[in-house]
């Protein structure tokens, strides 16, 4: 802020003072702002969660009707490791492949359910409809249902990370 013109004989000295004041405070501000930014915006070096969890027996899975499975998985929540209940909708597709969908609608995260009559997944919030293979049939949902990484060992279904629907569309 130019509060007074430098007209006195000590103009050079005055300029030096001003430069030092602004320069030093600039360094100090940057030195605090930078670590604060890194501290707040960099993701934590989180411990990896358990990769594969057992989601139960799928020998009785009907190819036409998806099944809701409940399983426990560990989740890192800040400084805590939570062991919490999660759900997945498990479906057997026409080609015999077993897929597990994340339990939330890809529109705004409401819990959807299987409509036996229509044989479709229906979201109660904004009427998004998904087919048994997770594709959007109708409604505002922007992408197919999210899928868990999955593999079948014998009759047991193992689930890994939840992958966004737009990623698994290509796969």
């Amino acid at each position: 802020m130019a509060l007074q013109e430098a007209t006195e004989p000590g103009a050079t000295r005055r300029r030096f003072y001003l430069g030092a004041i602004y320069g030093l405070w600039g360094i100090i501000s940057a030195a605090f702002a930078l670590p604060a930014f890194v501290y707040l915006f960099f993701p934590p070096r989180a411990r990896q969660e358990d990769q594969w969890v057992d989601a139960g027996d799928i020998s009785k899975l009907d190819p036409k009707t998806p099944m809701e499975v409940v399983f426990r998985r560990n989740r890192v929540d800040g400084w805590k490791m939570l062991s919490e209940k999660s759900t997945a909708w498990v479906a057997k597709l026409g080609n015999g492949q077993v897929v597990a969908f994340g339990p939330q609608c890809t529109h705004l995260g409401c819990a959807y359910h299987w409509d036996e009559g229509k044989t479709e997944f229906v979201c109660p919030c904004h009427s998004s409809i998904f087919s048994i293979d997770g594709k959007v049939v109708a409604g505002p949902a922007p992408r197919p249902l999210d899928r868990y990484e999955s593999r079948v060992e014998g009759n047991k279904l193992k689930l890994g990370r939840l992958i966004e629907g737009s990623e698994n569309k290509k796969a």
Partner: protein, 544 residues
């Protein structure tokens, strides 16, 4: 461009008066003798702002309840980028604040700047000093490690010993029965809700009073014209603030503030010590015993505070040169001497803590969960240089498979593989490992525990633990003792040994078991000094 800026400033000034206010503040007239000695107040304000800023950042990732507090602080230190720096700044900022506030006070005292009509300014300053100390006292508990816990046990007991009000103080601090959740909530509440606004208000009052009465002149100033606060004095203040800033950042980066063991109320071996600036009070208490104790704990500090407050009313002499104020200088010298003497005495009489007590628990401590055999396996892993052919979790691909993520084989398979690699994996280029079956067992058990989550931290296990476990495994201590749930129970279990025995005792016990525990069936062990030290440190570090 300039025209627009002036317009904006004028517009703002007409609506808010902010430019006029800044102008009045900066162009305040100060005595011609003003100089470097007047910078301490500004530095103290800077440090206060630093504490507020770093404190708020810490609070963003901190759970203010016992136990959780410790875990969240560990999270800040080990998992958040810059977390250790922010905590370091807050920790060292507190110490620096005490130093600067005291320097500020000494300067004012030496020059007699508290004299009429500046008594109220001085008293506000004394109260600010007390608030600064209150931050230190309440903040000390918040990491909830052993140091925090035991330090606060002593603090609350001292408060409880105050005559008449002791019982009420104790209730107020929530420390009636023990230091626990209530005490913690009270301390945290004071530290973040009560003290900051109180300090802000008092600083405002203090600065207002300085401005109202003007900076105290010296006798030489009477004939000289006054000068402006801006820019020369602002320049000096800025340079001083910058020096403080450099010192603070250096300390925060270089001097690592440890996090000790989680607070353990059953730990009978812990030696509580207050923060360095309270050591002189702590030492005073040692000289005051029996009925004198209440005087030392409460009476003397109260008297000291009262004396400080009364100084401007006792010394009503006229303004004089600082060089003539010999009595004031003598008083400062005496106070400094007493403080230094007591502090040095306190430091000198503090027993050197066991190495195990110095383990920094803010680093990864996954190794503490391993059994001695598994930890010894890590030792063989390192001795055999397995890492020259295998990656563990991260790093560039090498000849051998990544040991943290390969599908688990059984221990028996691994041991056969170690002995004759190509027998289990046809065509394997791995050379046979020249170790005994006993040692290969340990190596296999370690590899079974290794996974991608713990690989990095396990490989960073301190060397005393690895070497100690190697000795432990080599001497087959597990044939009689249990550690981390593994081993026989013929001898006493070794977990929590640090709470029961001193380092000296354990060393003596190894050399001559009959001497320390008559009738024991433990055979004597003659170990080279380094092995002995590593083993004992490792044993002391076993979780209790």
């Amino acid at each position: 461009m300039n025209g627009l800026r002036d317009k904006v400033i004028t517009w703002l000034d007409h609506r808010t008066g902010v430019e006029t206010a800044i102008r009045n503040f900066l162009y305040e007239e100060i005595p011609a003798s003003s100089g470097w000695r007047h910078v301490f107040g500004s530095v103290a304000v800077f440090l206060f702002l630093t504490q507020a800023f770093t404190g708020a950042l810490l609070a963003f990732n901190y759970a203010p309840t016992p136990g959780e507090a410790y875990n969240s602080l560990r999270y800040i230190l080990t998992e958040l980028t810059g977390g250790r720096l922010i905590r370091g700044l807050h920790h060292w900022g507190a110490s620096m604040m005490i130093c600067v506030v005291v320097l500020h006070m000494v300067q004012v005292f030496l020059w007699g700047a508290y004299k009429k009509p500046r008594e109220a300014t001085w008293i506000a300053g004394v109260v600010l000093l007390l608030l600064t100390l209150a931050y230190g006292l309440t903040g000390y508990l918040l990491p909830w490690d052993n140091r925090a816990y035991w330090g606060t046990v002593v603090t609350t007991q001292i408060a409880a010993s105050a005559p008449l009000i002791g019982q009420y103080m104790s209730r107020l601090l929530g420390g009636e029965s023990a230091v626990g959740v209530v005490t913690f909530a009270r301390f945290y509440g004071m530290h973040v809700l009560l003290l900051p606004p109180a300090t802000t208000l008092l600083i405002a009052l203090h600065v207002y009073l300085v401005r109202k009465h003007g900076v105290a002149p010296t006798p030489e100033d009477e004939l000289k014209p006054k000068v402006k606060f801006y820019p020369q004095q602002v320049f000096r203040d800025t340079v001083a603030v910058f020096v403080a800033f450099v010192i603070l950042f250096t300390l925060a980066v270089v001097a690592r503030v440890p996090l000790e063991r989680l607070a353990d109320p059953t730990d009978t071996s812990y030696i509580p010590r207050p923060e360095w600036y309270f050591l002189f009070l702590f030492q005073t208490l040692k000289f005051m015993q029996g009925p004198l104790e209440a005087i030392g704990a409460v009476g003397l500090p109260a008297l000291a505070i009262l004396t400080l407050i009364l100084i401007p009313f006792v010394d009503r002499s006229r303004l004089e040169r600082v060089s003539r104020r010999t009595f004031a200088m003598a008083a400062v010298a005496l106070a400094a001497l007493c403080w230094t003497g007591l502090t040095v005495a306190a430091v000198a009489t503090t027993p050197k803590p066991d190495l195990a007590e110095e383990i920094d628990f803010s680093g990864p401590t996954d190794w503490m969960q391993l059994s001695p055999e598994e930890l010894a396996g890590l030792g063989y892993f390192q001795k055999e240089h397995c890492e020259s052919c295998h990656t563990v979790g991260a790093g560039n691909p090498t000849v051998g498979p990544d040991l943290a993520s390969t599908r688990r084989k059984t221990a028996a398979w691994m041991i056969e593989h170690f002995k004759r690699p190509s027998a289990m994996v046809p065509g394997s280029p791995m050379p046979p490992i020249q170790l005994t079956t006993h040692q290969l067992n340990a190596l296999a058990s370690f590899l079974l525990k290794l996974n991608q989550n713990n690989a990095e931290s396990l490989l960073a296990t301190p060397s005393f633990a690895v070497n100690g476990a190697l000795v432990y495994h080599d001497k087959m201590c597990n044939a009689c003792h249990m550690a981390n749930g593994v081993g026989m129970k013929i001898g006493p279990p070794l977990n929590g040994l640090g709470n029961r025995r001193t380092r000296d005792w354990i060393v003596k016990h190894f050399k001559d078991p009959q001497g320390t525990s008559p009738g024991t069936i433990m055979p004597p062990y003659k170990l080279p000094p380094q092995q002995m030290e590593d083993l004992v440190t490792y044993l002391l570090s076993l979780p209790g």
